[in-house]
């Protein structure tokens, strides 16, 4: 649980980061108050914006878990973006291949299984390379992100392109049986799935023997090896589980928001999820809080582009500053 003291420190640090960001805005001749009020009014200040925050929160929860689960074993999965894309690709392929008569009770699980498989398969390569001792997973997951984006481009511009849309590269729209339903506006059933995944991850990691073993191995690989806990298999399991979760993020995006697969449909959700997981010290409950914070900032970033003509990457500054203060605070504790 987040105790009161931790909450106070975090609030103080957030305030510090906001102050520093204000200085940077001032230096560029922008009024920080305008920027903050735009950030606030476009997200928490109206019903539509508030809904959009949740729209962004859904993929972020998945991609943050994709980082947090392998992190329990001491693994750094920076490949959320690629796993998300491959998940979406396989989900789209499944939906397009399985015919249009599929009822919803079957169609949605089909997309979920395909999406998880896509993400897990994309994580399998770095997982095997790491478990065989060939290559550190940080480098391989990062490089594979760039490959994954082009794999999706290749299929969307090529074999999976809707012949009817001459100008826009995209697949055909998915049949209604596969589409994830929405509650209100664009907030969709993925929110329920994400919260369930969060609860399940918390349960497995904190309350089961396996979760305990993972933490033991992660804390001290050599000792765990001597006690016969198989590190190699654990590496593959947690990284593929992470990949599967990121795959669900991509699946939700195309099945609930887009309705078809287009190139560059992800707003850097993989990288933002990495940020959320580290801001939250990989703890499930804090992922919910930090995920919400990052979702607010990211949603606000989009409106900054519209309202103030600032590049949406501007809010990356704010997010990096937040991560800096959290990392600095936890540095000595973690090592």
């Amino acid at each position: 649980m987040v105790d009161r003291k931790a909450l106070a420190t975090i609030s103080l640090l957030v305030a510090g980061a906001l102050a520093l960001f204000s200085l940077l805005l001032l230096a560029a001749g922008k009024n920080p108050l305008d920027t903050y009020s735009s950030l606030f009014s476009s997200t928490l200040g109206n019903a539509y914006g508030f809904g959009e925050v949740f729209v962004k929160l859904i993929p972020l929860l998945f991609t943050a878990l994709a980082v947090a689960v392998p992190a329990r074993l001491g693994l750094v999965n920076v490949g959320g973006e690629g796993q998300l894309h491959l998940g979406a690709l396989l989900a789209a392929a499944a939906a397009l291949a399985c015919g249009s008569a599929t009822p919803r009770w079957l169609g949605i699980p089909v997309t979920m299984v395909a999406g998880m498989a896509g993400g897990a398969l994309w994580a399998l390569v770095p997982a095997l390379l790491r478990s065989w001792g060939f290559l550190n997973e940080t480098i391989s997951t990062l490089l594979l992100n760039y490959v994954a984006l082009r794999v999706v481009d290749f299929f969307v511009y090529g074999p999976m392109r809707d012949p009817g849309s001459a100008n826009i590269p995209q697949t055909m729209g998915f049949a209604p049986g596969y589409l994830w339903p929405s509650f209100t506006g664009r907030v969709h059933i993925g929110l329920v799935f994400a919260l369930l995944a969060l609860a399940l991850a918390a349960l497995v990691l904190n309350r089961t023997r396996w979760g305990y073993e993972i933490r033991a191995i992660g804390g001290n690989p050599i000792a765990s090896h001597r006690h016969g806990l198989p590190l190699e298999r654990a590496i593959v399991v947690v990284l593929c589980a992470g990949g599967a979760l990121a795959g669900l993020a991509g699946t939700g995006e195309i099945m609930a928001i887009q309705g078809r697969l287009r190139p560059h449909f992800s707003a850097d959700y993989g990288y933002l999820g990495f940020l959320v997981a580290w801001l939250a010290s990989h703890r499930p409950l804090r992922i919910l809080i930090m995920g919400f914070l990052v979702a607010v900032i990211a949603t606000g970033g989009d409106s900054l582009q519209l309202d103030q003509g600032l590049p949406s990457a501007t809010v990356n500054i704010l997010m990096a500053l937040l991560l800096f203060v959290v990392l600095a605070r936890e540095g000595k504790l973690a090592s």
């Binding site: 940077l24 560029a28 992190a71 001491g74 693994l75 750094v76 920076v78 390379l129 001792g133 060939f134 290559l135 550190n136 940080t138 480098i139 391989s140 990062l142 490089l143 594979l144 760039y146 490959v147 082009r150 794999v151 481009d153 290749f154 511009y157 090529g158 992660g218 804390g219 001290n220 690989p221 990288y271 990495f274 940020l275 580290w278 600032l310 590049p311 990457a313 501007t314 809010v315 990356n316 500054i317 704010l318 997010m319 990096a320 500053l321 991560l323 800096f324 990392l327 600095a328 936890e330 540095g331 000595k332 973690a334 090592s335």
Partner: protein
């Protein structure tokens, strides 16, 4: 293959490898100190945007280059308080730096998007540039291309033949022993970060001033990460960085040449090549490289927690 194609490809390979070379050379210095900056991508973006901005405002390319270098050096120093002083997780800190570089360069660089400058022009070397075939490839390049070899030797000399380099490597192998032996380990590591940042800034400056002649958001497109991989490829040896950079530059240039000639290969598949080749080479070279990894880095990589 057509000889013109090969000539164009090789000349392009050398040009494309230059930013990779400088960034990887800088990262070698950083990693020799037992640190890893995964955020070279961000440092390169800062170098690229600042050098372009300064060059287009002042009209002076040397000033632009110097500003880009300085921006890179200072930007890398931001990691110091985090990973040197506080001992924060280096991989996450590096990625935070990448985010910061993306954001800052996009924010302050926006005013320059869509403008272009003449940029760093090729400097044909008298006589040599007229040599048949080879002249076109090797001796009609820009100044920073010619400086690659001297820079590689300079960094090699710095690391292997000076007291400072010896101390730096000692810090990278075992920080506590170096500290006990009287080294100012914190200062040395900050110096390595700064020097590495100067070179990464120069790498970014070459990208915007000599190759692109313009600035766009996210100009580096993952080259910073290839540079990090290149250091492993080169087994932390400065003199091996150049052949490595040429190999990766060759892959980048091949894709550009093939596309320019309208080859019937999907551009998306060609775009994957540099990243896939990087992965493949890292796996193939794992044995030779791992033995040379500074001991201090193994801590970061093998129980990254």
């Amino acid at each position: 293959m057509h000889p013109d194609f090969v000539q164009g490809w090789l000349a392009g390979a050398i040009l494309a490898s230059t930013p990779l070379f400088y960034a990887a050379l800088g990262e070698t210095l950083v990693e020799k100190a037992g640190l890893i900056n995964l955020g070279v991508e961000g440092t390169m973006l800062m170098g690229a945007s600042v050098s372009f901005a300064v060059a287009s405002i002042s009209g002076s390319l040397p000033l632009g280059l110097a500003a880009g270098m300085l921006a890179g050096g200072l930007f890398n120093l931001l990691l110091g308080p985090l990973i040197v002083v506080r001992g924060a997780n280096q991989l996450a800190s590096g990625l935070a730096l990448m985010f910061l570089g993306q954001g800052l360069s996009a924010f302050y660089g926006k005013a320059f998007v869509g403008t272009s400058i003449d940029g760093l022009a090729p400097l044909p070397i008298p006589f040599l540039s007229n040599l048949p075939w080879v002249g076109q490839i090797l001796f009609r390049q820009d100044l920073l291309v010619y400086l690659m070899l001297p820079c590689a030797f300079a960094v090699w000399f710095l690391l292997s033949r000076t007291a400072w380099g010896l101390n730096l490597r000692a810090v990278g192998e075992d920080r506590l022993v170096a500290y006990a032996a009287g080294s100012n380990t914190g200062l040395l590591r900050h110096q390595a970060l700064f020097l590495g940042g100067l070179l990464a800034g120069l790498a970014g400056a070459h990208l915007s001033l000599a190759i692109a002649h313009t600035w766009t958001e996210g100009l580096t497109a993952g080259r910073g990460f290839i540079a990090v991989a290149l250091v492993i490829f080169a087994a932390w040896r400065p003199l091996r960085v150049l052949p490595g950079a040429l190999l990766f530059g060759g892959t980048l240039a091949l894709q550009i040449q093939l596309q320019a000639r309208g080859a019937q290969v999907s551009p998306f598949l060609l775009d994957m090549l540099p990243y896939l080749v990087t992965l493949l080479v890292l796996v193939l070279l794992r044995k030779s490289s791992r033995g040379r990894m500074p001991e201090g880095l193994k801590e970061v990589f093998e129980s990254s927690r």
